[in-house]
Symmetry: D2
Subunit: 317 residues, 4 copies
């Protein structure tokens, strides 16, 4: 079997690699680890992974196999190179640990080479259809929450409003969960339109109730937060500051939950491959480990539970 | 409405109190907070809780209402006192935040007084039937995992085996989840018999494979860990040390997941009471918020997913 | 006695307030806490602080007295207002917890009113002359280091160079200590000129040695980090990313060292006031608690140990 | 040059190894790392360390060279073996990273073989004469403080007194610094006699003032804490619980301060060896990096600043 991590890194990728290797070993399979995601497949760069060589990595952030931004397999030549690598090394099945960009590549590669490929959803963005949670999401949420708990110290001490930008690429999963668990007064998501006036009104109402500080959690890229800060300052006569949490959300030791998901997903992925099944993405659905077709995962947009936004509003009242 | 926290404290209890008060307020209910669990009910000791007075507690461990060990309402006089308190203060519904001991008391009180009572499962032990997860469990798991990550540094540096005792009262939920997520070679649970010989054999095999350190995670109270350490040292000729994690597992800022559960449970609990429903315990089942009868929750033992133990074994190979 | 926190908040300010109140109480003094820094003095807004009311705050970030940006006492009217407040409340001595901006205000106020004022240096920037370390500096360093440890996971996994901007206002204390303790390849300080070419060369050399990722720690405001990222990317053909750590550095529970300094400084400050001495800033010099005149502290620029920069270079080789 | 870590592990040992290797390399020396402390010297087990091979370890707890309990070089045969190893590998100077037990061994070895040996004080116990602080001490303090901050949540919620046992071997440095920075009501040190009656009286007085919970920090091994808990419970009619922090204090990522000390000590140690000086222990004295003779370090007991105990008492009032 082969294994690779592709796309953005997420805490728990190493736990997933360890899981794949040890479960595969326990079933009699050998595992090759391709390096730097698809690049390892294109250039036949890999290292054999054994139960010993994946020792001591369970709790580490990042990925020992390295990763690189996802390319899609557009050119025939690339597909042929990757197919050649898989053939050369007698790879019967390939496990791809990554997000939805990775799975689009995996789907194409699977189609064109006939290799059995299983996707393990691992992304801090939680934007993979077919699983309620991706490996790394819980870790990134906890990192962001821990940082905003610190920012709140300053918000309260200096009676300021803070706009905190969190990651999430084009989706609001991270911002929504972080927002509700830090008690943000406003949560700005790509999935929901908002009006500046509404934000201003919320903070004016809050101020009248005697609350002198506040937190806005905004998903990256949906608003010019510098501009919003300036306008909010004018509208509320409060000091407003901006903080962009950035790459710390991708790193750090994985939370227990991310490690557990990584172990369960790895177990299911190897089980599928050992039964000869491919073209699937494993996942957690309604509390159970399961899988769906990679095709379906790629073409379906994962819905966001927007009723949480209403709950968040009532909780921050 | 009334609210009380009873039994052992767990991270996220404050988030649940905040949720109950703010959701209740948003529906037009006022909330009284009884202090020190049942004692507040017996002695009519309480404080009015408002949306403002529960500000700034979402992220704090412990409980602002204090708590005390659970008494069962055995004597008629006690029930009468508590009933009197509820009547005096016009309490239509009572929300009890605690574990299964708390819910047995709540069931008895409900039966004998006719008050609508809703239980919110909050316990680091996760031993409440009717919910896949209790508030505080994820926090305690992460605290224990963080500490064992540190102990592993010494285990590896000094090539030692560590026996780490975690909490869980009479159940193995905490030990099992912690054990699998730290990569323990052996996990000892109250639900599963084990033989010392098996433990010795496991570590001898590990040593032969070149692994010179190891971790045993043991649920508290099921084995004389001092004695086990002595015997294991003799059997393996490795140095063996014991660490009892203790009360740090109960404290600390709640994890994002414990805060989220607290918010969702509070929302459901207030919704039930506002509809006049009582005698229920809210919970998370198959990824959905739901509730079961308090009677059923009290009399049913929550099953432990023992297949995780097999997975843990293969992962630590 | 009076106490106020002014200027930017820093972890350990609460520990200092607690120390001032309890030590003052033990010597028979009562303490008034002025709110929002100088504003409380101007508007006579304060609360009496007792040993009980400062309980439970030792480990909390921020400041229970709130703070506000430092104004200098330029207008006579302001000085008169503050003097009036001090007189009205029979304040014999005032303790000001803050940074060098705060002390300039304190010096002016002391001169013009004759009140005994003692400064307790508390700032994440460590830029107060007269003390080797300010309260909060060690906490901010550890927060930044913890975050960069996480960023390094991504740097290594994706083989990228990260430019990380840390705080420090106009000085490089924070950047230098953070840079050396995270093993940064380059540290950019306001005190030291640098050439882009030198940075490019360093990373080219590193790449030739086989190191594919790296960290630049830059003090805020000394370089257009966006521009630097673009140019470095071109020069090294590596991916370069930027992360601005921001306000998390100001918050969070104070480190043990910040708490200890807060306690020792509070003890010395109260001791000085109780002996009738004013116009001084307490500090840590060569491992001993001492004090210098507030005049001297304000007019002298604290030197930065630039030989640490050479050590950092050799260590990151 | 040779380098070894001996005795108990401490956070920052890896930072010291990295420092020694990179500074030595920058001066043109090659470095061999002996494994498992003295055992590596006796059995000639080592690995060459290069600037690249010590990459990525700065922030990790434990020691990549492993360590083992200190033996003293009593038998001539052992000294001969170690001397032989040094000679075989052309070791001109040896750097020993460890605590005072390690330095007694180093002193004996130095005397009997004539090798230049420099000690770098690294121990969570801070019990090395000649330095105000050892590598790892600040890290262990912060770990213990973080854990007691969590225990305090339960202490307050359940209105209990907690006895918390911290490490320190035969000395009270760790207990004293931890005790003062967590605000312990009582600190029990091996250096100071105490009477149970005094402890009981303190907690009775506290209770009368309305404080219902409390913390005792006790250095390990100086009192039967189980027995004390029972008696204190009887005397105060409060619930009393015991928590032994244990081995987590030895592990975890080193604090910024421990990393900085490690870097500064490594620099000084290599500088001394490069000038041909041996038989010294480097240290931090009055805020400056310096060194004393290993002979003096071994035979002098490091004094504990007991006036801090008085300060702690007044602060916890």
């Amino acid at each position: 079997m082969g294994v690779a991590t592709t796309g953005g890194d997420a805490p728990g990728m190493n736990a997933a690699i360890r899981g794949v290797v040890r479960i595969a070993n326990s079933k009699g399979f050998e595992v090759l680890g391709f390096e730097r995601g698809w690049e390892g497949l294109l250039s036949n760069r890999f290292r054999p992974l054994t139960s010993r060589s994946v020792g001591g990595i369970l709790h580490l952030g990042g990925t020992i196999l390295h990763t690189a931004r996802c390319l899609e397999f557009k050119k025939d030549e690339e597909v042929r190179k990757a197919a050649r690598t898989l053939e050369l090394n007698n790879i019967d099945g390939l496990i791809v640990i990554g997000g939805d960009g990775s799975f689009r590549g995996a789907r194409d590669l699977g189609k064109k080479t006939g290799t059995s490929i299983i996707g393990i959803p691992s992304s801090i963005d939680n934007d993979v259809f077919g699983t309620d949670e991706t490996i790394g999401f819980d870790s990134a949420v906890n990192t962001a929450v821990g940082e905003i708990d610190k920012i709140r110290d300053t918000a309260i001490s200096l009676e300021r409003i803070f706009i905190v930008e969190v990651m999430g690429r084009t989706r609001g999963f991270l911002a929504l969960t972080v927002g509700i668990t830090v008690g943000a007064e406003i949560i700005l998501l790509p999935e929901v339109k908002y009006e500046n006036e509404e934000i201003f009104r919320t903070f004016k109402e809050i101020k009248e109730k005697g609350k002198k500080s506040g937190i806005i959690v905004a998903a990256e890229g949906i608003v010019d937060t510098h501009q919003l800060a300036v306008e909010l300052e004018k509208a509320t006569e409060s000091e407003v500051r901006l903080s962009v949490l950035g790459y710390t959300q991708r790193g750090g030791n994985p939370s227990a939950r991310s490690r557990l998901l990584a172990s369960l997903f790895a177990d299911e992925a190897v089980e599928l491959l050992s039964r000869g099944e491919g073209g699937r993405v494993v996942g957690l659905q309604n509390g159970k480990i399961t899988s769906i077709s990679i095709e379906q995962s790629c073409k379906t947009e994962k819905p966001l539970e927007l009723n949480l936004l209403n709950l968040a509003r009532r909780l921050a009242a």
